[in-house]
Symmetry: C2
Subunit: 313 residues, 2 copies
């Protein structure tokens, strides 16, 4: 009888008995250079196939790897067309949106969410007739209207069409005056926080992360926030003047200490921090991982995502 | 003694005793969608490491695969920085230049060759401060001058800096009025011809391919032209109104028949035609290959390039 019970439990999808609130499928995890693996994370409520993409640096190759790993049981094009309901773009650097542009001819109609500065670059630089085709619903005529641009406003929660999730945007500083965005995703009472490229407050002097921690801290304390996705582009050896609005392990831990002072050190203990955007020059990825693991004062649970895998939070 | 001779011959690099004039390493071979494998071909005189890239859709991942295959014995970044002396961009669609942009922060100073319309899009849309950084030597200040823009003029031969090769550009029609480019590469008395995306003259009504065959034909007849790289994006079933300036197997063979009438059918027999830019939707790649092999009236040698391999011509 016990054996039968175990067997039955093994057959039930994990989301039916687990506590997880979100499923995340990383489509790309690296901080530049490698075109096959650039920042993009599919996120859906656990048990749902209604995903949005948080950034879209690499799309097709990430889905391909997820299909190869048995995470999706559809051809790549069907996952692209049916499971992805929209794109949230943190900032308009090509390593965060190339996959969206390159796959646009075969994509279905959906919404692109971003701060006005991000949507402006999409409209004026990428979805143009000189460089590509205008698949947006604004800009150069003829306007093909495959994608609806939805402008985000800092701090204002809006629904993510085709899903049960919502998003609230927070501005980030990515090498002043260049701006990036954090997305606070909500599904019911559960939250997930994704940060696009960001510098540290100590370097950027803009207080963007301190402001974000004021929102995130209480959500961690009450157990509602399930994970934070945040970048660590460079190792500690990177000189300050060539950070270009990015974090190192030391700077990240400095920021997490500040978050701990809002959330409480107990709440942050073993809290999932997903490390994004390690730049793959030389052996930097390994160095960044080692430096983070060697110096983790808040004792967060460091997660190094793999392209085409499944994460549950 | 015979055994020893065989052993010695096996140890001599192929270029020392073969007739080959050019080495080509495909960095990406697909016609869109898959960010890990978009149009780009490194070409150098046989025996030299002074390559240029013909288009640059995928760069890093293509070099990575070539390194994995033992073709280069350097880290990816060193191949990028040292072996690639310049980029020739056929037209400014993102699937032909994304790899160049994404790798630009880690690249060394080199030249980008293109027709004025291509360079204009690079300058105004991609190498801008709103979308990326201006690594060009023209356009929005501050101008970082990593890349020198070299404007090509139709029919005029110019040297490719850092190599012993030259290039002559020929305009192509890619869905009128959209323009693309063919590059005729010369090293000494040997030639290689690479066409960017192109429609058929029968569809485009511009006579661009007929004009190109007037140059290519005599070079085939005299044995100087070693190979032609040309696209076949869609299978024969693609409706004419959705060709978007691309070729099908039937349209390609129609054009090669016209080339045969200039070059002579004998000269074209077994002549290497490298098929680029098959669009990977559904099973299209396999269908295109099958249709080409099933109907090859000029009996050309059809070559389907693989990413990260080495081709000798």
């Amino acid at each position: 009888m016990n054996k039968l019970l175990c067997l039955l439990l093994a057959l039930i999808p994990s989301y039916l008995y687990s506590q997880s609130a979100f499923t995340v499928v990383p489509l790309g995890v690296k901080g530049g250079l490698d075109e096959s693996n650039l920042s993009s994370y599919m996120v859906a409520p656990a048990g749902s196939n209604d995903y949005v993409c948080l950034d879209a640096g690499t799309v097709y190759m990430g889905i391909q790897r997820a299909v190869d790993a048995g995470i999706f049981h559809l051809p790549v094009s069907m996952v692209l067309r049916q499971h992805i309901k929209g794109y949230l773009i943190s900032h308009p650097h090509l390593d965060h949106l190339a996959g969206l542009i390159i796959n646009s001819p075969d994509d279905t109609a959906k919404t692109i969410y971003g701060m006005p500065n991000t949507l402006k670059v999409l409209e004026e630089k990428y979805f143009t007739w000189a460089g590509w085709a205008n698949f947006g619903d604004k800009g150069e005529a003829p306007v093909l209207k495959k994608y609806h641009y939805a402008a985000l406003e800092a701090g204002k929660e809006i629904p993510l069409t085709g899903t049960t999730m919502t998003v609230t945007a927070f501005p980030l500083s990515h090498g002043e005056p260049y701006q990036s965005t954090a997305f606070l995703i909500r599904n019911g009472e559960a939250y997930l926080l994704y940060l696009g490229d960001t510098g540290a407050d100590t370097i950027e002097h803009a207080g963007r992360l301190a402001a974000l921690w004021q929102t995130a801290g209480p959500l961690i304390k009450t157990g509602k926030l399930k994970a934070i996705f945040i970048e660590t582009s460079f190792p500690n050896s990177q000189p300050e003047k060539t950070l270009f609005g990015h974090l190192t392990p030391r700077l990240l831990m400095g920021e997490l200490n500040k978050l701990a002072s809002v959330a409480g050190t107990k709440a942050l203990y073993n809290f999932p921090i997903v490390i994004t955007h390690r730049k793959p020059s030389g052996n930097q990825e390994a160095v960044i991982k080692k430096e983070l693991e060697a110096n983790n004062p808040p004792h967060v649970k460091l997660i190094f995502p793999r392209q085409g895998s499944r994460l549950e939070f």
